[in-house]
């Protein structure tokens, strides 16, 4: 029992430190906001920092981010609209192309409506709708089953809602692949390096025997950039990305003005990827 308690204390402590660091790094603007407010209200700078760390550790809801994506399927008109998103992601993240479905690694890809939302089975949905390709990727769930089952914390949920991977800690047990109800995870069944078309030195390649998946471009977000797929289709705004905890963000506005659905909501995972379903515009 003592051992468990010990682990729990360490976990809470690590989570605390992680939250603090995370917020300091990515929420500088909010930091300045609090800093400014507290200075105005006559508090010194040291108590202001204290107040900031207290807040961020106690409630990420107020100051933390929750990244999310809206896929507006009406905006995907041509084959090329899908392709450029997929290619942008796969090239920037050194995703290999083995050319066979057995070894396949993918982060974002097309899936027909009937497979993306199989529980929506209906005899009277048009054939066109049934086969309409949807963009699928990791849902960055609020309650990720993959994180729950990982025996080494190689996959973990960040304070900003991103479900991330540590490729160096993963033992390749593939429990997360069994746990993911969305089929979002891929395993490197072979050495992926010879199958990367053009290596991007900005992002690591993976070794064989580890699991990988979409990371919501955390490496780009930390530089203040939008995810690669979102940027690739920014002309028609087919993918909208932003912070759910910010009431003024674009995703929040899109979610307020559109009816959206998520994949398998009945499982309680709370996916961070939303879909606007509808007939194609101007086709």
């Amino acid at each position: 029992m003592e051992f468990l308690l010990y682990i729990r204390v360490i976990r809470i402590f690590v989570k605390f430190v992680f939250n603090v660091l995370e917020n300091m790094e990515t929420n500088r603007r909010q930091f300045l906001k609090i800093f400014g407010i507290s200075t105005l209200s006559g508090l010194g700078s040291i108590p202001a920092i204290w107040a900031f760390t207290q807040h961020s550790a106690l409630s990420t809801q107020h100051f933390g981010k929750r990244w999310a994506m809206v896929v507006d399927i009406k905006k995907f008109k041509t084959e090329d609209d899908y392709k450029k998103c997929i290619d942008a992601c796969h090239s920037v993240h050194n995703v290999p192309d083995f050319g066979n479905p057995k070894d396949e690694v993918k982060w974002i890809w097309k899936m027909p409506y009937k497979n993306t939302f199989p529980e929506q089975e209906d005899d009277y949905i048009s054939g066109e709708m049934k086969n309409m390709p949807f963009m699928v990727l990791c849902n960055h769930c609020k309650n990720p089953p993959c994180v729950r089952v990982c025996p080494t914390k190689a996959t973990f949920k960040r304070a900003d809602g991103i479900v991330a991977m540590d490729y160096h800690r993963c033992i390749g047990c593939r429990f997360c692949m069994a746990a993911c109800p969305y089929g979002s995870r891929s395993f490197n069944f072979r050495d992926p390096r010879p199958f990367i078309k053009e290596k991007n030195s900005e992002y690591p390649t993976r070794a064989k025997g580890v699991v990988e998946k979409c990371n919501f471009c955390e490496e780009r977000l930390s530089k203040g950039l939008q995810p690669a797929c979102v940027e690739a289709c920014k002309d028609n705004k087919a993918l909208i990305f932003g912070d759910l905890n910010d009431p003024d963000s674009e995703v929040r506005k899109v979610l307020e003005t559109n009816y959206t659905i998520r994949r398998k909501p009945e499982l309680g995972t709370q996916p961070g990827v939303y879909y606007i379903v509808g007939a194609k515009e101007d086709v």
Binding site: L4, R148, C170, I171, A178, S186, K208
Partner: protein, 384 residues
């Protein structure tokens, strides 16, 4: 006591060397797998666990079944099991070692295996499974070795073993419960998402384990001067009879819930396993074989007059073992992945290297059983 394993007739050494040969072959192919990656197996993005994890799951059951000897002997003072209880414990040792080996060969990054201990993660069931399996191995090694040593010296086992034996009873239940929880807590895998997963695991374990023990006891009787005792084997037969019937009952409960509720996700895996889906039906002949064998075994076992004949008991034990192996060692794990989360069908069949590695692990387990049983039998031959 190990010296007992180093003397034997030609048959004994022939058997040992054949096992070593299979182990060696498996090991060579494992090296190949290390080099190439798990792509050498039939596993894929959709069916991400295959033969290895299925064997692991099945063998946890075999390991847990030692408790079916321990409970009658130690809790109900059923003396007839006194002579064979060591076989149950040694079978558990070998089965747990095979389990650990199967998990190991299934890892993509086996050199990082210690990460499970370096970064203990209590929210992962795998963490607990690692703990209970290793604990169970230690318990059985200690109990088995100490009691056998005491028997050799014509002494009662030391007092400190008793509490360990009592602990080993719930511990045996725990290894199979925790292993069931690996599966039963995953959202979106309908075949596994069932509250009776742990009871099903236990019923199938208490059928397959004692069935294997009957087979092993009858082999021991034939190849040595040691007689495990007719009544002990008959009692094992009774245990198998109950367990295999309960196992079938639990299976029918699953069928009822899936098909009466008519929820598509719950029906899909069963339809795939027993009838095939969209022209894919690689497991259909296997599943029907398992089903028919278990019905045949029940028909043979349920009649006490039939069961009393050792040949028929042996045949039934083999039927039960094969049937539970197919059901758990193939259907359960692979069926859980089909259809995939997109309701597509990706089938799986093991590759030749995968089968050879699997056989290599089984050969290792059989070698451990052989050596341990040889020691036990030699000591029993001396003391009888």
């Amino acid at each position: 006591m190990f010296e007992k394993a180093l003397t034997g007739d030609k048959r004994y050494w022939g058997w040992i060397f054949s096992l070593l040969l299979i182990m060696g072959t498996g090991f060579i192919f494992y090296l190949k797998q290390l080099d190439y990656g798990l792509g050498i197996t039939g596993m894929s993005r959709d069916v991400s666990w295959g033969l290895y994890i299925a064997q692991f799951t099945f063998l946890v059951g075999v390991a847990a079944s030692a408790v079916m000897l321990v409970i009658p002997y130690y809790l109900h003072d059923y003396k007839k099991f006194g002579k064979i209880i060591i076989f149950g414990e040694f079978l558990a040792i070998s089965a747990v070692i095979m389990c650990l080996m199967f998990v190991f060969v299934d890892m993509g990054q086996p050199m990082r295996a210690m990460n499970i201990i370096l970064y203990p993660t209590p929210n992962s069931i795998m963490f607990w499974d690692m703990l209970v399996l290793n604990g169970y191995l230690l318990l059985n090694l200690t109990i088995g070795w100490t009691t056998l040593n005491a028997e050799r010296n014509d002494m009662p086992p030391p007092d400190w073993v008793k509490p360990l034996i009592y602990v080993s009873i719930p511990w045996a239940i725990s290894i199979h419960t925790v292993t069931a929880f690996l599966y039963a807590g995953l959202p979106g895998r309908h075949l596994w998402l069932t509250a009776i997963m742990a009871p099903r695991f236990l019923s199938s374990a208490f059928a397959s384990g004692p069935a294997l023990l009957i087979i092993l006891c009858l082999i021991v009787k034939r190849v040595s001067n040691f007689d495990p005792g007719k009544e002990a084997i008959q009692t094992l037969g009774k245990i198998v009879t109950y367990a295999v019937i309960i196992n079938l009952f639990f299976f029918l409960l699953e069928i009822f819930t899936a098909f009466y509720s008519n929820i598509p996700g719950h029906m899909h895996p069963f339809k795939y396993l027993f009838f095939g889906t969209e022209g894919h039906g690689k497991l259909v002949p296997w599943m029907w074989t398992a089903f028919i064998l278990s019905i045949m075994a029940i028909a043979l076992l349920i009649n006490p007059n039939m069961r009393k004949r050792e040949n028929i008991l042996m045949v039934s034990a083999v039927l039960v073992f094969i049937s539970t192996w197919i059901d758990k060692g193939m259907g359960l794990v692979i069926g859980g992945f089909i259809p995939n989360p997109f309701e597509e069908i990706t089938e799986y069949s093991p590759t030749i290297p995968e089968v050879l590695i699997t056989l290599g692990v089984w050969a290792t387990g059989l070698l451990i059983i052989t050596v341990l049983y040889k020691i036990a039998v030699s000591i029993k031959e001396e003391t009888v």
